[in-house]
């Protein structure tokens, strides 16, 4: 089976050590690129969660995407003239934040129920959401929203959400 034979002069052949070195460098190079990408991506794309109380205490960053969670305050939901500009208020019963959102709300969005919104905090203190999450079934509460409520009224046990879900 001479089709597999190495026809190049012996001097040009890679000896085993050098070849192994090339492979190891290549593998490490690949991992290095991956790590660089991951570090870069985590720096820009991690989304932190804050409760309305934390936002009121100015712990949340301005001009950066983060998530807030809590209950949709009863009676706070308003559709603007075009129907898809929406205002509501998220509360953890201690503090509340006005939220504006352009789009269609998810099925499970309901006043008095748990919600998580992702977006940025405007200078006027209004949270501009580009994503509103209220997943799963009726008695499920997003865990983030639940923990915000829990923190706000640690004494009342009825706010504790059921974990799990789908």
């Amino acid at each position: 089976m001479n089709r597999f034979a190495d026809h190049r002069p012996a001097a040009h052949r890679w000896n085993a050590r050098r070849r192994r070195l090339v492979w190891i460098l290549a593998v490490f190079g690949c991992f290095g690129v991956a790590v660089a990408l991951i570090v870069n991506a985590t720096r820009n794309n991690l989304v932190f969660f804050y409760s309305p109380t934390q936002v009121a205490e100015r712990q949340a960053p301005y001009g950066r995407t983060f998530r807030i969670g809590g209950l949709v305050q009863m009676g706070s939901l308003h559709h603007e003239g075009d129907g898809v500009d929406i205002r509501f208020v998220v509360t953890d019963t201690a503090h509340s934040i006005p939220v504006v959102y352009h789009g269609v709300l998810p099925d499970m969005f309901e006043q008095g129920k748990g919600v998580v919104a992702q977006g940025r905090l405007g200078a006027n203190g209004v949270f501009q959401a580009d994503q509103v999450l209220a997943k799963h079934d009726a008695d499920y509460m997003p865990p983030d929203a639940a923990s915000a409520l829990q923190a706000a009224r640690a004494t009342k046990s009825n706010a504790v959400a059921r974990g799990g879900g789908g």
Binding site: W14, N45, L46, F49, H102, P106, D107, M108, D137
Partner: protein
Amino acid sequence: MIPELGHFCLIVALLVALVQAFYGLVGAQRGVAAWIGAVRAAARTQALFAILAFAALAFSFYRNDFSVLYVAQNSYSGMPWYYRIAAVWGDHEGSMLLWITTLGLWTLAVTFFSRRLPDEMVARVLGVLGLVSFGFLAFTLFTSDPFVRILPAPSEGNGLNSLLQDPGMASHPPMLYMGYVGFSVAYAFAMAALLAGRLDSAWARWTRPWTTAAWAFLTLGIVLGSWWAYTVLGWGGWWFWDPVENASFMPWLAGAALIHSLAVTEKRGAFRSWTALLAIITFSLSLIGTFLVRSGVLSSVHAFAVAPRRGIYILTFLVVVIGASLLLYAWRAPRVGMGGRFAVVSREAMLLVNNVVFITATGAVLLGTLYPLIMQALNLGKITVGAPYFNAVFAPVIAPVLFLIGVGPIARWKQETVLTLAQRLKWAALVAVIAGLLFPFAMGRWKPLVALGLIAAAWILASGWVNFRRRIALQGASGMGWRRFRVPRAYAGMLIAHAGVGIFVFGLTLVSAYSVEHDVKLAPGDTTMLAGYALRFEGTRPASGPDYTAQRGTIVVSRNGRAVTTLHPEKRVYIATGTPVTTAAISYGLRGDVYAALGDDVGNGAWTARLYHKPFVEWMWLGWVVMAIGGFIAISDKRYRIRVKAHVATALSPAPNPRPAPQPRAVGLHEGSAT
């Protein structure tokens, strides 16, 4: 009575699994022929009882036996029978039973399709599978028993989460589990080979069809899930990098790496230890995926606190399985040789890069999935790692593979020159670049990233065609007409699966770049323009289904004044659970989908709505289905059914191969390691 029988079947299966593991592993180790001979029977018995237990639970669902707690929690008599059956895997306990049953099916398959393997090997494989079955059966019986009764029995059940009442629920989880669990066979083969100290080409050859089958099932499972998300859950999205999705994607990536690594091990005898390690990694990721999704840890670490016994069992099980496998690997793997050498430019080298890339990508996904859990567990704040992270990391990492798909299969084993490759592929490259640069003009706007994506897609397809043509030419005109195009199925499957990647990249590029999404308010009579389509809303009417009531909208879609179709999006409320569900209406087409979903009733018959145009979105799923088809074609290749003795003969002397192939693919292991 039936649930008790089911419970009893589970206990029997648990005990028989122990027997199966003992006979298989100890029998093979000590060389006790009687024990080895009994393993097949034990495995079949175990599988049978597992399937019976599943049937008992399914029957309880079918009969609306709400005295079974799990049935009462997840079903409701008003649901159609097929969703009552699908509700079996609607929650944790039933999912575990589905896992066990699927493992039973795979075990049965191993007992039937292993006649050509040495008895000792089969005994070890079934022994390892017996241990895995035992672990899952014990977990189910002691922490997640689905047959627990509730007294007094409620007259009606809670109903299944209404989002789950969908054909997707009936097909997606079983298919996904076929994939997850199928990797346990690849794992069992690797463990058996490590135990026997024989990680060789024969082992790789036996493992290949099982691995490819599992991977193809997993591919279909992922497609079904993505499709389901698109039509029901996702408001037009098809992949969210949600932890639950990642849990299925990680074993898929590792499995893809394993398939390629197995090819090298079989053909060239190289990468043996690495292949065994990959089999362990793939199966471990399947286990982690199953448990992550079903234990509820993903939504919150504190879900463990809800059922601490379950959590501790899961962690222990994972540590034992992964730890023991790696220990065995560390103990045994170094004994086996490195296999044939290869140059920096060779098919092996490219497959190695493939593996590095796939494993790097898997690691990146794993990190993004677990990072929030780790942060939360360490009390470092609550964070979300969303799609932007995964897109930013995954796309550049995986990109080299898209290029190598074209080059690898056409490169020779062991030694290749860049010049030869360039000559063979120059036309494919030229066609790809021209097609990629020109096609975006047809879409209206030219974008550099779109051109890049399309060049990759066209490159994969064109180089596949070049490869095929070359193969035919090398085979010579051995027949007339269509017979000329007959190639081995494993080769055809490989080309088809790779073409599937090309089709997927094509769809992905176009739908990512040219989707149009409008969130609007629609009053009856309103017309909205969407990517050249005119959508006229005619209002909504009440409607009802077997277990829901709905508002049913009517949207007439036309293009250039001609009616195209009429869409009926619905807003349903399920009676049992009272939950609202948006059912989108989609007009499917190869050139793109028109998608409409109702939002909220904003008074005076007006609704908010999501109206999307998704160009070429169907091609993505088509690509994945083609990949799976390629996998299934590959496993039907004759050479996986060659008798062991015949295989040994071909390996020793290359001449009497039943299908003489001009390519160096028939090289046996001895030749490979003889350099």
